[in-house]
């Protein structure tokens, strides 16, 4: 079987090279390669009878909302939930540009101010959870960092982009410590997950991430707690988006999140009560 794979790949390769040799131009080959190199499109199964609710949620909610989605679908067999996880700020942009979403769950309340201003949501969000920040470093803390004050020991620190909520929260924490990290040492993650990954899988020495993300990373990072006096209170909000075609089902999802069942799930993942 391996040899068949090698043969077929070799075949594609040889064909390309022959075409290049004969045609002497890359016009013919390029389309072939763009097609091959492109990401395959996932075929979607259209389920006629079920209603699909699209939930745009902050990246830090990926794990907890995944679980909530499962439980919600079990309790509501006619509703299917589809998630779109990204940084809260990009979700706001997407919705403002008309992305078809039914619910928005963001990691700060400023996002909702923006959406209220542009009329994409009509009423104030429900706060369904709170989060705080932690400092994470490589397992075993090789650089012996004791706190935020010590971050000059790190050569690369991972933070969220400045306009993403977790980036703003990190900036607040740093200012409470009076610590300034030069921009040349900061790698900006596009969302909370990417920021965490820089330490858990990449080579960044430290990151300031949500408490929930820090605990989900388990053994791949070492957590250094940030005391409450210097920490921030991130309020997560959820609301139905105006113009949603499934507003009833969307409202049902929102209610599930704030219900005891939803709150229980959030608590297991480390979120604090609203």
């Amino acid at each position: 079987m391996v040899s068949t794979i090698w043969s077929s790949v070799d075949g594609v390769y040889s064909l390309t090279v022959t075409i290049l040799a004969k045609a002497r131009s890359l016009v013919v080959v390029l389309p072939i390669f763009m097609a091959v190199a492109g990401t395959p499109v996932q075929a979607e199964r259209i389920v006629a009878k079920k209603v699909t609710v699209t939930v745009s949620a902050a990246a830090s909610l990926a794990n907890s909302y995944g679980e909530i989605g499962k439980q919600f679908e079990k309790a509501n067999p006619t509703i299917k939930v589809r998630f779109n996880f990204a940084s809260s700020s990009s979700l706001v942009s997407q919705i403002q540009s008309g992305a078809p979403s039914d619910v928005i769950a963001a990691a700060d309340l400023t996002s909702f101010d923006k959406l209220l201003a542009t009329g994409n949501v009509v009423k104030s969000p429900q706060v369904f959870a709170r989060n705080s920040m932690q400092l994470v470093v490589k397992p075993g803390n090789p650089l012996r960092i004791s706190s935020i004050a010590d971050l000059s020991k790190a050569s690369v620190v991972s933070l969220c982009a400045k306009t993403v909520p977790c980036g703003g929260y990190a900036a607040t924490v740093l200012s409470r410590y009076g610590v300034v990290i030069p921009e040349s040492k900061i790698t900006r993650g596009v969302d909370a997950t990417a920021t965490l990954n820089a330490v858990s899988t990449g080579d960044a020495d430290a990151a300031i991430v949500y408490t929930t993300d820090a605990s989900s990373a388990k053994k791949s990072v070492f957590v250094i707690a940030i005391p409450a006096s210097k920490n921030v209170n991130a309020s997560y909000g959820i609301a139905v988006i105006r113009g949603s075609k499934n507003s009833k089902q969307a409202e049902a999802f929102v209610q599930f999140v704030v219900s005891p069942a939803g709150q229980k799930v959030l608590k297991t993942f480390g979120f604090l009560a609203p």
Partner: protein, 266 residues
Amino acid sequence: MNSVSSRTPRFVRLGALLGVAFLALPIIGLLRRVAWSTLWAQLTDVATRDALRISLYASVCATVLALVLGLPLAWCLARMQFAGRRFVRALVLLPMVLPPVVGGVALLGAYGKTNGLLGGVLDSVFGIQLTYSLWGVIIAETFVALPFLVLALEGGLRSIDTKYEESAAVMGATDFTRFIRVTLPLLKPSLVAGLMLAWARALGEFGATITFAGNIQGRTQTAPLAVYTMLESNPEGAYALSFLLVAVSVGVLVGLRDRWIGGGSQ
């Protein structure tokens, strides 16, 4: 002169028109979004200038590195018989079919400081860290650009007539001299096309760069990364930089046009 093959049926013309529209519309849409009045100010913004400088430097270095690694590889594939040839060819194709982010993860596995195959040694013995550095950007870009160059060069090497190298040998040219004085000039069209494509690919690389070299403004934030980062915080700047990148790409295509149509020096 109205022979069968020179007549273009209407449906073919329509299809071609649709194709052109499909490609042209996004470009036109982008140009519409550019705030022309603030264009210069945006392009000379510190973050944008940094991104352009890093992109230019890294993509050129990556192209050179791809040439250094790719030319011998192309030569062996074109002219040598050896065991495992199929395997090597599959390997060369790999960065082209891998999603770039996966490429970045793979690069971490090899050159990452923590647990990287080679990266750990590099760090502990030589104190060299490739991730989050400009060299990391260059390595990520070389990884994705190399296949383009190897394919173009191998195609070129196969297409040149060996009789010229033979007559050069009889005239007294030793291996290296033959290569420089005869093979390379004959290879020029494929070499130029391959280099330009590799450079364009390196310039546009995103997924592998952000995963392996990170997104450090002024150090590893290339133009594509800057556009992505600016998209929410400074859309005007993002469009301005995107416009510049489109202009550069058009420049590459115009520069390649002789190879694009007709191909080769004949």
